[in-house]
């Protein structure tokens, strides 16, 4: 399964800034609601999280330790 940014519709104010900054076409607006498309090439640039002023989009990191 492709890892996608986490979207909280209740927090979204429909401003659409996330869609305008998305580099890989993973986000689109449908009826003023953000829709996250399954995109294998999401590079986790976090621009959508950066521009979201309501915290509706989140790009959390999985923090993994290498056994050294």
């Amino acid at each position: 399964m492709t890892i996608k940014p986490i979207f909280d519709q209740e927090k979204c104010d429909g401003c659409g800034l996330c869609v305008t900054v998305c580099r890989c076409g993973a986000l689109e607006m449908q009826n003023n609601i953000v829709n996250i498309i399954e995109v294998a090439h999401c590079g986790w640039c976090m621009d959508c999280e950066l521009v979201c002023s309501t915290g509706a989009l989140q790009c959390p990191f999985e923090i993994v330790t290498l056994d050294t």
Binding site: E49, V64, T65
Partner: protein, 222 residues
Amino acid sequence: MTITAESLGKLKYFAGLEPQQLSNLPQLFKEKAFVKGQTIVAEADINENVHFVSSGVVKVFKTSSEGKEQIIKLIRPGESFNDIPVFNPGPSPYSAQALGNTLIYWIDKKDLLGLMRNNWAVTVNALSAVADQSRLLLQLVEDLSFKNVTGRVAKILLQHSTPGPEGTPRLTQYEMAAMAGTAREVVGRSLKALEDSGAIKLEGHRMIISNKEYLKQLAGLN
């Protein structure tokens, strides 16, 4: 794309103006659409126009001689940038780049000062915008000068790298910023420094701690 009294009324500089006052403004402004990644203002350029974001979002940032970037602020619809050279003659102190498709309005120094001379509300709004920026910059100075943010971020990564009962914990940069008592932009800079030093590797949504001992040292845990 047409500049209207209504679209100008949404800008913070012109909040509180009567419709009749707004109706005289469009002729003083110019507009231009920028695409993702396009530079709107370059640091050190001579540019005495105050810019306003009508739609989209703009990143204002400084770049070091080694190419390191520090984001100062994201400018959202209604907000302004490049105000400083208008009130304090000199080159633009930062660069501004469109993060997505963006529509920008701008007004030149002479016209803005004329508006301020004749309209107290515009003067107060402009002062408020510049004071907001000063407050933000002072916070950034405090964070970068007095707080060991990289050490705090290192500690946060170590504390959250052990898988909990429900699997590997996940953290956003906002959450790390809240934990470290700083801004997301400062956490981003710290993570880049940690990546450059080889302490961590960023692979998509995975942040791999590749030098745990160094992180411990930075966090003061050794």
